[in-house]
Subunit: 227 residues, 2 copies
DNA sequence: TCAAAAGTGTTAAGTTTACACCCATGA
DNA sequence: TCATGGGTGTAAACTTAACACTTTTGA
């Protein structure tokens, strides 16, 4: 078997995944971070991570790790990239692949999150993170910020039914700037796949606000999106 | 050392890098591909790749592998992402990190390339590639196409001095569509860091065309680019 | 002298931005 | 009744797209 020789001479590495988990709450983007109650770096803040196992792909490892923390399946995730500096983890050489996830902050397993000592943190008030996790976060933010403007991924951060005010406030949080209400709504209403429902949300105002819904099937027909 | 235990239980993996090497010649984008004269998959077409070693970062491995093939240092490279399906390489489990590189097709080590049995191939007439290399190529193309419009990375594919016709033809090859000559030149001439030289290229026409140059220092002052 | 690539401005269409008031309701 | 967030249209500024002819020169 000539294959054998070809591979055998080379070193092997631990491969990990790290998750940048975005949530949106009360006008702010948040990350779900661990205050580590385990070694290494016990007591410090980090992203949720884990090691890739033999019987799973790297993408599957990321899904598993996300589920271990949040209990959630079928979450929108995207790879940020591989981080491979030699001493990025001072304990051992570990090559890590970062992923970001967009979850609805109202639906996750609070027990699990609590048991991992994880907390939602305002993205503009992040604590110091271990290793190269700050770079992972920065890259994830940039990637997400850039993608959210031309693919309808932001809806993953909202409940199924949302008001246009919520939607605008989400985009303002992501872009870090305010937007014109009339122009925003004009753009949204031109997109057929953002459907008005006949429901009203009375929690945010006395008058109540119309609830909208994102329709994936309609989106797939045109795939046009721009906010 | 509690660290030890934490890592020891986990499996290790071969980690490779694969390079999508772009060149531009006679109006076409080209990739530098290997017709493998070694196992595994001898005789088939593949990207240039190699294994990450103990004493190098993943980025450095990509640079090394690119240099092994082309003899070039200081090449513009960007990570495409990690590819981690379990059976992506049928020989052994290997996790690969793909990078694309932009090189000037007039300056590389022809001996080295020949000794690796590598050939430039028109990107629109690619042979069947092994493993998941077609996906790597597609992702690299998309990434590059999207980046080349708002960062001045395309110049890496051209000689230091280039004509505006060459520049336009490069962008047409990348975008896969023709562009309006006057509009194109208008945009280019508004960018201060694309400097007119006093040299003329007579190889492409009887009349001769003005040669231009990209000035990095001037670019850094504004960082505005849009084609 | 003519073929072949280089070079050059203007106008219309489309897109984006700026901007202010009335509405409905519960407290 | 009034404070609060919800909802609505138009015009100016800017950006993008469409378009055709003259110049230079070597073969």
């Amino acid at each position: 078997m000539p294959k054998r020789n070809y591979y055998r001479e080379h070193p092997k590495f631990y491969v990990a995944v790290d998750c940048i988990i975005f949530g949106f709450d009360k006008g702010s983007l948040n990350l779900l971070l661990l205050k580590r109650n385990f070694e290494p770096s016990k007591g410090k803040w980090s992203l949720m991570g884990g090691f890739v196992q033999k019987e799973e792909s790297v993408d599957d490892a990321a899904k598993r790790v996300l589920k271990e923390l949040t209990g959630l399946d079928n979450v929108y995730m995207e790879q940020v990239g591989a981080f491979g500096e030699i001493n990025r983890d001072p304990g051992e050489r570990v090559i890590s692949v970062a992923y970001y996830a967009l979850i609805n902050i109202d639906s996750y397993d609070r027990e699990l999150v609590h048991s991992h000592n994880a907390f939602w943190t305002d993205i503009n008030k992040l604590p110091k993170l271990i290793f190269d996790h700050p770079e992972m976060v920065d890259m994830a933010r940039d990637l997400m910020k850039q993608k959210v403007g031309h693919k309808p991924i932001g809806f993953n951060l909202l409940p199924k039914l949302f008001t246009l005010t919520q939607l605008q406030s989400l985009y303002e949080a992501i872009y870090g700037e305010t937007m014109d209400k009339r122009n925003f709504r004009k753009r949204v209403m031109e997109m057929e796949f953002i459907e008005m429902t006949d429901e009203i949300d009375k929690t945010g105002s006395k008058r109540g606000a119309r609830l909208y819904r994102m329709n994936d099937d309609v989106y797939r027909k045109t795939r046009k999106f721009k906010i």
